[in-house]
């Protein structure tokens, strides 16, 4: 067996842990894969399951003939929606955004009707995964095809309905108006005034559908043979899954144990209650046998939830000098065929971010959610906030171009000055800290902004075939989802608190149980650093436990850049309670007055003496508890929880230089600089990794990714051959720096870093490409900015080309039937 040596840490081994570049202690097992991914697990008597899916976007199930499949080799059973109709539960929408929201019942396995291509209609259970897959092809479904609606704008016409019984494709209209809320003026007045005596920028921008591409496909294993039913799930949200399984299947919560073992990425794609997850649970219960299901990548792309998918109508009003006076936003957001767990809540999260870092005196946000016969949409890294940032940063560039001034100048004219914090935004949120001036100045310097502008000018003058553009994104976001009171006001069905337990073991080691649920973020390392500092124990002596509802009984899991901001604070509070309890024991053992015992760097001391003892000695003494008086407890473990009062607000300035080959339309990144204020940085190496990954994911929306369907509603970009993701070969090395202003919303001062890069980078890239060719008459290029779209835009079509003329996946491009060799 190969083993990897622990790489040496970059910083010194002594002293404060917070701020140290610790290598991640979880990486060896995660990177080698020799760990507990759900699909690596197996339990005695386990059966395997394969799904039968709809090939149609909208159809009635006339009949399902399972007889041939049932007779296939080693097939144990074949289950249809009718078989488990009473036991399978439903997939809940936890966030009905309005009281009137239309929410069709979402069954894990369809019973009578399918609403998108890929929906599960039957499951085959066999001795091996291969036999289950083979037999799934023998299930014969008779369909009656129904008209399908596949496009947001078509859906709004209500001519073809995704759910005929609802009578409309419109699910909910959510609105915010600053005049009504008392947070600002009347936006229509501002726009009317600007039309006569100012500037009005109106844009329709498209947020294409994206598909979360976590590395580990979804996998579920349900074992009903114990006293509790255990479900191993590659999920971001084991606690929420347990609650909703209980709430929707009738199985008592106490009889359900959910384990998220090591989980290979999520990006929001596993912030979900999944049909396949519920089906695995229901089938295992029905058969009384352990059952495992692991999806293929093709299944993942066609049936896991998608992200983004909005049409954005933006109207910005400004005075003649570029001072902004109003912003009106109307979104048409594609829900897909059901309202997912967060559903319409995802675009609504953007409601508070379209105004960005700017001082709009008037603001209105309208979000119309719409059904289509496509897979449902939900959170995808950034969830609502990348969409908002994209729109505002694009139109701020348009405003600058209209006035003929530098895009940074128009931003500085309108942003919140560093002296104005805390600042109440026009959307009603209080931004605690920030300094846009410092971040921008630092980014400009690192970027060599003025030199690149000079080169751009020179290339334009020369008529170079390769033009250069500079893109700006000065973003902010709301992180640390989310204060329970705010969630309650927004009609979300759960809270946003977090919980942790710190346990002092007899041998002086420490166990930290967290309620957040990592899936690649490095929680085990970062939380060890926090606890090591607080308790004054070595980093190596801290073990972080998570992801199993039997171990971590309370928690609300990981999403929305919340783990550190909310979960980290809960850990600190638990650690502080441990110290308080240990102080009582120490006072007893040192025969000192409690008030005279102080704690510093892992050691209790008695004031005015040289008497003292370490916290690990207290732990051992507590284990023995010899001679403890009645009023000293024999336990110093403690729990902590935290519910923030408000969000945290990371911000930053991202600058991007793109080269555009005007002959082919191909774009190439030249330089990317980001200076982010993410508050206190616990582990700079992890933070940098989050920023690099996030920036790449945002670039990928700008340049590469798009879920494309054909006219029948079948996913064309159904494999990584046709759904393009960048690799290291397609990116450059980004220059990352921080300009921290600690948050005041938590005692760590952390602001969150998981989503910043994704939120910021998309508009920076698109702005750079548009900037490169704006002098040639181009004002917009649809995402992803394929070479052909850029080339078409250069030839005078501002919207760019449609994605496909006659799209078909690469592998289906011809006759693969003849016996031939392969390369």
């Amino acid at each position: 067996m190969t083993t990897l040596e622990q790489a040496p840490a970059a910083g010194p081994e002594t002293g404060k842990e917070i701020g140290k570049d610790r290598r991640r202690k979880e990486d060896q097992r995660l990177i080698t894969g020799r760990t507990r991914w759900t699909d690596n697990l197996s339990v005695p008597g386990m059966l395997h399951m394969a799904m039968v899916r709809s090939p149609h976007a909208h159809a009635r199930i006339v009949s399902i003939d399972t007889s041939a499949a049932k007779q296939a080799t080693n097939v144990y059973d074949v289950v249809t929606g009718h078989d488990i109709a009473d036991s399978q539960g439903v997939l809940a929408n936890a966030w009905p955004i309005t009281e009137e929201q239309k929410t069709p019942t979402h069954l894990p396995m369809a019973v009578d009707r399918v609403t998108f291509a890929g929906e599960v209609v039957a499951a085959v259970i066999a001795r091996s995964a291969a036999e289950a897959r083979d037999a799934a092809e023998l299930v014969d479904v008779e369909w009656e095809e129904l008209p399908a609606v596949l496009d947001i704008k078509e859906a709004l016409k209500d001519e073809v309905l995704a759910h005929p019984d609802l009578g409309t494709n419109k699910s909910a209209l959510w609105q915010f108006d600053s005049a009504a809320a008392g947070t600002g003026g009347d936006v229509d007045e501002a726009i009317a005034k600007a039309r006569t005596d100012g500037i009005v920028i109106e844009r329709e921008l498209l947020q294409q559908r994206l598909m979360p591409a976590f590395m580990e496909p979804r996998s579920y294993l349900a074992d009903p043979t114990g006293e509790q039913i255990t479900l191993w799930s590659s999920t971001q949200i084991p606690h929420i899954v347990r609650f909703l399984l209980a709430a929707t299947t009738g199985v008592p919560e106490s009889k359900i144990r959910v384990i998220a073992p090591d989980v290979g990425g999520g990006f929001g794609g596993k912030l979900a209650v999944q049909p396949e997850e519920w089906i695995t649970f229901a089938v295992a219960r029905r058969l009384g046998k352990p059952v495992k299901f692991t999806e293929t990548r093709s299944e993942s792309l066609m049936s896991n939830h998608h992200g983004r998918a909005q049409v954005q109508h933006i109207t910005l009003a400004a005075e003649k000098d570029g001072t902004v006076t109003g912003l009106k936003v109307h979104l048409d957001a594609d829900l897909g065929s059901y309202v997912a767990l967060l559903g319409g809540g995802t675009p609504v999260l953007g409601a508070f971010m379209f105004n960005g870092i700017y001082k709009f005196p008037a603001y209105q946000f309208n979000c119309q959610t719409v059904f289509t016969n496509r897979p449902w949409t939900d959170a995808y890294r950034g969830a609502g906030r990348p969409e908002a940032t994209y729109a505002i940063e694009r139109v701020m560039d348009d405003l600058a171009a209209h006035l003929g001034v530098d895009p940074l100048e128009i931003r500085e004219k309108n942003w919140i000055k560093n002296t104005e914090f805390p600042f109440t935004s026009v959307a009603g949120l209080v931004y605690d800290t920030g300094n846009y001036e410092v971040a921008t100045a630092k980014a400009k310097e690192m970027f060599g902004y003025d030199a690149l502008r000079a080169e751009q000018k020179e290339r334009r003058a020369r008529g170079d075939k390769v033009q250069l553009g500079l893109g700006v994104s000065t973003f902010t976001e709301m992180c640390g989802l989310a204060p329970s009171r705010i969630l309650g006001a927004l009609r979300y069905g759960a809270g946003g608190w977090e919980h942790a337990t710190v346990r002092m073991l007899a041998t002086g080691k420490v166990e930290v149980v967290i309620g957040v649920s990592p899936h690649g973020q490095g929680h085990e390392t970062a939380f060890s650093q926090i606890v090591a500092d607080r308790l004054g124990v070595p980093f190596e002596d801290v073990e972080v436990l998570h992801g199993d509802t039997q171990v971590s009984a309370r928690g609300l899991d990981t999403y929305g850049s919340r783990s550190l901001v909310v979960g980290g604070e809960a850990v600190l509070r638990a650690a502080d309670k441990v110290i308080e309890r240990a102080r009582v024991v120490a006072a007893h053992l040192l025969e000192a007055n409690l008030d005279d015992v102080t704690f510093d760097s892992g050691r209790f001391s008695v004031a005015g003496t040289d008497q003292g003892m370490g916290i690990t000695d207290v732990a051992l003494a507590t284990f023995t508890s010899h001679n403890f008086p009645d009023d000293v407890e024999t336990n110093i473990d403690a729990q902590g929880s935290f519910d923030a009062v408000t969000f945290s607000f990371p911000h930053g300035t991202h600058l991007c230089a793109m080269e555009v080959d005007t002959e082919t339309g191909r774009v190439k990144m030249r330089k990317y600089v980001c200076v982010d204020d993410i508050g206190t940085v616990i582990n700079p190496l992890i933070a940098q990794g989050q920023v690099h990954g996030g920036v790449t994911q945002g670039i990928s929306q700008a340049l590469f990714e798009e879920a494309v369907f054909d006219d029948a509603g079948t996913l064309v970009s159904g494999s990584f051959v046709d759904y393009l993701l960048p690799t290291a070969l397609d990116t450059i090395s980004y220059d990352v720096a921080h300009s921290p202003n600690p948050s005041t919303t938590n005692s760590l001062g952390a602001k969150g870093v998981g989503e910043t890069g994704t939120i910021a980078s998309t508009p920076a890239v698109v702005n750079a490409v548009v900037d490169a060719v704006r002098h040639l008459g181009v004002t917009d290029i649809a995402m992803p900015m394929t070479p052909e779209r850029v080339w078409t835009a250069l030839r005078g079509d501002p919207g760019g080309a449609d994605t496909v003329e006659s799209a078909e996946p690469h592998f289906e491009g011809g006759n693969l039937e003849s016996p031939e060799e392969d390369r």
Binding site: A129, A130, R133, D134, E137, T296, R297, S298, E663, T664, R666, L703, F704, V708, V716, S717, S719, V721, D722, L724, L725, P726, T727, L729, D730, T786, P787, E788, W791, T792, A801, T803, V804, E805, S806, A807, E808, H810, F811, E812, G813, G814, N815, L816, E817, S818, P819, E820, E821, D822, R823
Partner: protein, 283 residues
């Protein structure tokens, strides 16, 4: 991603392989498996029998055969890329192999397998066409040789018959010719949207002879003969070859797909041909 069940045979001689192929009604030949396995795993094809010719060592390697190089069908892309004879006498293949997929695929995928798979977006079809290679095909009745112009028949279809196996490819030596493979992709690991394989012989500062192959500009690799003719006597700079390159899309009917329309591909062919020829002349 589990293929349907199939029988598997791994003969050690060509005769054995051909006999098995003749016997079965529904067999596929596998070499490096870099195209067939995805097809099987996605269940786009489900043959009863897969015949693995990877153990037939006689089909491996590059040898010098006078005025031609003989490249065994099982030679991997990695071996092709690093072969000094190929670099000396058929530089265009070295250049194309360098752009083909990634190191993992290049270590497993084979020269013959890629050609017989005949993906119109494959990176080796246009170079062998441009080089005027000949294909040696074995069947139960013996071997036959097919010229490059007759080898590619249609999308995923070649002159290799149902019961035949490509054994080697004879590539006429073009020693001292410059070569370049200009591949246009959105991300590094994808098939080319369009690629141009160009190899040129210079004489006295101008182009004496040029051979140009086009990838993914139709259902099979294509020769840009109009460009080749127009290049004779041209100055080998981008400006010098520009007029000739304008003829690159003549007679092509490229596909439209997620990465580009037919019209866009025709435009790209012209630009990329200009760049490829100029680059070939520099090497």
């Amino acid at each position: 991603m589990i293929p349907a069940q199939f029988d598997y045979l791994a003969p050690t001689s060509l005769e054995e392989a051909l006999a098995a192929l003749a016997e079965s009604d529904d067999a596929k030949v596998i070499a490096g498996g870099q195209s067939l396995l995805p097809v099987l795993r996605m269940r786009l094809n489900a043959p009863e029998l897969v015949i693995d010719i990877g153990k037939i060592d006689a089909l491996r390697g590059v040898r010098d055969d006078g005025d031609a190089l003989v490249i065994g069908a099982l030679t991997t892309h990695h071996e092709l890329l690093n072969d000094p004879l190929v670099a000396e006498h058929a530089l265009l293949l070295t250049k194309a192999a360098h752009e083909l997929a990634d190191p993992q695929i290049r270590h497993l995928g084979t020269f013959g397998g890629a050609l017989v798979h005949a993906d119109p977006a494959g990176d080796l079809g246009a170079p062998v066409l441009a080089l005027g290679a000949e294909f040696v095909i074995a069947g139960s009745g013996g071997t036959r040789t097919v010229g490059a112009d007759d080898f590619f028949v249609d999308l995923f279809e070649t002159a290799v018959g149902e019961d035949e196996i490509l054994t080697e490819v004879r590539v006429p030596k073009r020693s001292g010719w410059g070569a370049h493979y200009e591949k246009f992709v959105r991300v590094a690991h994808q098939w080319p949207i369009v690629a141009v394989a160009a190899t040129v012989r210079l004489d006295g500062g101008s182009i004496a002879e040029a051979r140009i192959g086009l990838t993914n500009m139709g259902s099979i690799p294509l020769r840009a003969r109009g460009v080749e003719q127009a290049l004779v006597g041209a100055s080998p700079s981008e400006d010098g070859v520009a007029a000739a390159a304008e003829r690159a899309a003549e007679g092509t009917s490229p596909p439209s797909d997620l990465n580009g329309s037919s019209e866009y591909r025709q435009h790209l062919a012209k630009v990329l041909t200009r760049r490829a020829v100029a680059a070939a002349a520099r090497h």
